[in-house]
Amino acid sequence: MVKELERAGLPVVHVCTVTPISLTVGANRIVPAIAIPHPLGNPALDKEEEKALRRRLVLKALKALETEVDGQKVFED
C-alpha cells in the first residue's frame, strides 16, 4: 500500500509498531507506533493521557509528511 501510493506520486507516512518490517518492505517515512495490538493508542492510560498520546502521534506523522527525505527514515522521538 505504502509503496503503491508513493509510486502514484503521493508522499506517505507509515505509522507502524514493527519498524524493521517497514524498513524491509521499503517505506520511506516511518513513524513508530505504540504496540501491535494497539498501534495508535494505549488502553493502559486514562482517557486524557491517551488523547494526548494520540494527538502527539498524529502531529508527528504530519510533521514527517512535510519533511523531505533522502531514502528511508525512521522518525524517532
Binding site: 509498531t17 514493527v18 519498524t19 524493521p20 518490517i21 524491509t24 505504540i34 504496540a35 501491535i36 495490538p37
Partner: protein, 426 residues
C-alpha cells in the same frame, strides 16, 4: 544436569470402574478425574472422551495437548510453578506415558483453537492423530470472561495430566533414555575439540491469550535466560496459546521438543550441546530489541560457535526471529533458523514478514496457507460451531456435504516450527 526419562508405552485407553495402568492399557474412570477438573470453581462441567488413531473422529476446538508424566526421583514435580512447587526440575528420574496425550478442548475463544482429525487427510498433517487421546471438553460457569476460561482450562489440563501420570509412579519403564548436559568448564574439558552449540527457543508471548509460561511466570515478563534442556522435559515450559494452531507449540511439544531430542543425540559426538536459551516474542518494539540483544549477548558470553533458533507463530514474531538471527550472527555465532511460511494459498507470496541476508540457513515447517479439504467424519468431540471463524478458515469452510475447506493453519501442529510436524520438502 542428568535426567532419566523412563518410557511407559500405552497401547490403549479404556473407560473402566477404576483408574489404573495395567499391561500397557490406561484404564480411566472419568468420575476420578471430574473432581480434579471441577476443583476450579470457574468450571461447572467436563466431559471425557477417547479418540484413537484411525477412528473417524474430529476434535475441535483444541486448546492444548499434554503428555502425562510423573517425577519419581530428584527435585520438584511436573509443571513446576504451575501445579507443582517452583523447585528447579530437570534432574533425577521422570516417567512418561508414551503413545497417549491429554487433549483439552472447548469453545474458549472460538477462532483461536485448532482441529485434530484422527483419520483422513487431516490426520496426515497433525502429529496428534498418532496418539491415543483422552479428550476433556470443559464447560465454564455462566458469564465467565474468556481469559479466566482459558486459564481454567489450561490449568485443568495440567492437573488431569499429572493425575494420570501418578498412575505410573510405581511402574517399571519399558525403555529408559538418559539426557545429560555439562557445566561450562566441564564441557570445555570433556569436549575440547567439539563445537559449542546452543538452542534458542522463542516463546509465543503476544498477550490476549497468546502466551507461554516458564516455571509459572508469564514469559512476556522474562528477560532471556538459560535452561538446562532437561528442564522442559519436566514441564518447565507450558503452553497458554493455540491461535493458528499449525505453528503453536502445545505443552506436549515442549515436553518432547524434537530439536532438543536431536541435539542430545549428537551431544558429545559432533558437538557439545551447551544449553537452551529461552526468549520471547512481545508486541512492543522495545521488548523485541531488548530480548534479541540479550539473546545475542548470552550466545557470546557462552562462547557458542553456533545455535539453532526456533520460532513460535508468524507475522510480527518474524521480526523477533530475524533480529535474533542478525544479532547472534553479528557476535560471530552461526545460526540456523527454523520457521514456517505464510506464502499465500498459491505459495507465491513472501514467506516471512521480515528478512535479512544473515538468515542464510533456514528450515521451513511448510506453508500454512496451503488449502486442504477435510472430509466429514462420523464423530465430533467438542463442536463444529467455530469452524467457519477459526484462524485459517472462511465463511465457506463448512461445505454442504459436511466437509471442511481450510488452510493448514487450522490443524494443530501441522507446520510446527520445532519440526514436530509431518511435512518435509525435497
Amino acid at each position: 544436569m542428568r535426567l532419566e526419562i523412563g518410557k511407559i508405552n500405552i497401547t490403549d485407553i479404556r473407560f473402566a470402574d477404576s483408574s489404573k495402568i495395567e499391561g500397557g492399557v490406561l484404564y480411566v474412570n472419568p468420575e476420578d478425574l471430574k473432581p480434579v477438573v471441577l476443583e476450579d470453581d470457574k468450571l461447572k462441567g467436563v466431559v471425557f472422551d477417547i479418540a484413537k488413531p484411525g477412528e473417524s473422529v474430529r476434535i475441535t476446538p483444541v486448546k492444548d495437548v499434554i503428555e502425562p508424566r510423573v517425577k519419581v526421583e530428584g527435585k520438584g514435580g511436573i509443571f513446576p510453578g504451575m501445579i507443582a512447587k517452583v523447585d528447579t526440575v530437570g534432574s533425577g528420574k521422570t516417567l512418561a506415558l508414551k503413545g497417549m496425550a491429554v487433549v483439552t478442548a472447548g469453545k474458549i475463544v472460538g477462532f483461536q483453537e485448532g482441529i485434530i482429525d484422527m483419520t483422513g487427510p487431516g490426520a496426515d498433517y497433525t502429529p496428534f492423530s498418532k496418539t491415543l487421546n483422552l479428550v476433556m471438553v470443559c464447560e465454564p460457569v455462566d458469564d465467565l470472561k474468556q481469559h479466566d476460561y482459558e486459564k481454567a482450562v489450561r490449568m485443568a489440563g495440567f492437573r488431569v495430566a499429572a493425575k494420570i501420570g501418578e498412575l505410573a509412579r510405581d511402574l517399571t519403564a519399558d525403555e529408559t533414555c538418559v539426557y545429560e548436559t555439562c557445566g561450562i568448564k566441564e564441557g570445555i574439558e570433556k569436549y575440547p575439540d567439539l563445537p559449542r552449540v546452543g538452542y534458542v527457543s522463542m516463546l509465543q508471548t503476544q498477550g490476549l491469550l497468546h502466551d507461554t509460561y516458564v516455571y509459572g511466570v508469564d514469559a512476556k515478563q522474562i528477560i532471556p535466560t538459560i535452561l538446562s534442556p532437561t528442564e522442559i522435559m519436566d514441564g518447565a515450559i507450558v503452553s497458554g496459546n493455540c491461535v493458528s494452531a499449525c505453528d503453536k507449540n502445545p505443552t506436549y511439544i515442549h515436553q518432547n521438543n524434537p530439536v532438543v531430542e536431536d541435539m542430545f543425540a549428537e551431544h558429545g559426538k559432533s558437538f557439545n550441546f551447551v544449553c537452551q536459551i529461552i526468549t520471547n516474542e512481545n508486541v512492543y518494539l522495545a521488548d523485541k530489541e531488548r530480548s534479541s540483544n540479550m539473546t545475542a549477548k548470552l550466545c557470546r558470553i557462552l562462547d557458542l560457535d553456533g545455535v539453532i533458533v526456533t520460532q513460535e507463530g508468524f507475522g510480527n514474531p518474524d521480526t523477533d526471529l530475524i533480529m535474533n538471527c542478525k544479532k547472534i550472527e553479528a557476535e560471530g555465532v552461526k545460526t540456523v533458523i527454523v520457521t514456517d511460511e505464510y506464502a499465500g494459498r498459491d505459495g507465491k507470496s513472501q514467506s516471512l514478514a521480515d528478512a535479512d541476508p544473515a538468515a542464510d540457513a533456514v528450515v521451513t515447517g511448510g506453508n500454512a496457507n496451503e488449502v486442504v479439504i477435510l472430509p466429514k467424519l462420523d464423530k465430533v468431540i467438542g463442536m463444529l460451531d467455530y469452524v467457519n471463524v477459526i484462524a485459517g478458515a472462511s465463511d465457506k469452510t463448512l461445505r454442504d456435504d459436511g466437509s471442511l475447506e481450510v488452510e493448514l493453519q487450522v490443524i494443530t501442529g501441522a507446520t510446527n516450527e520445532m519440526g514436530f510436524g509431518r511435512l518435509s520438502a525435497r
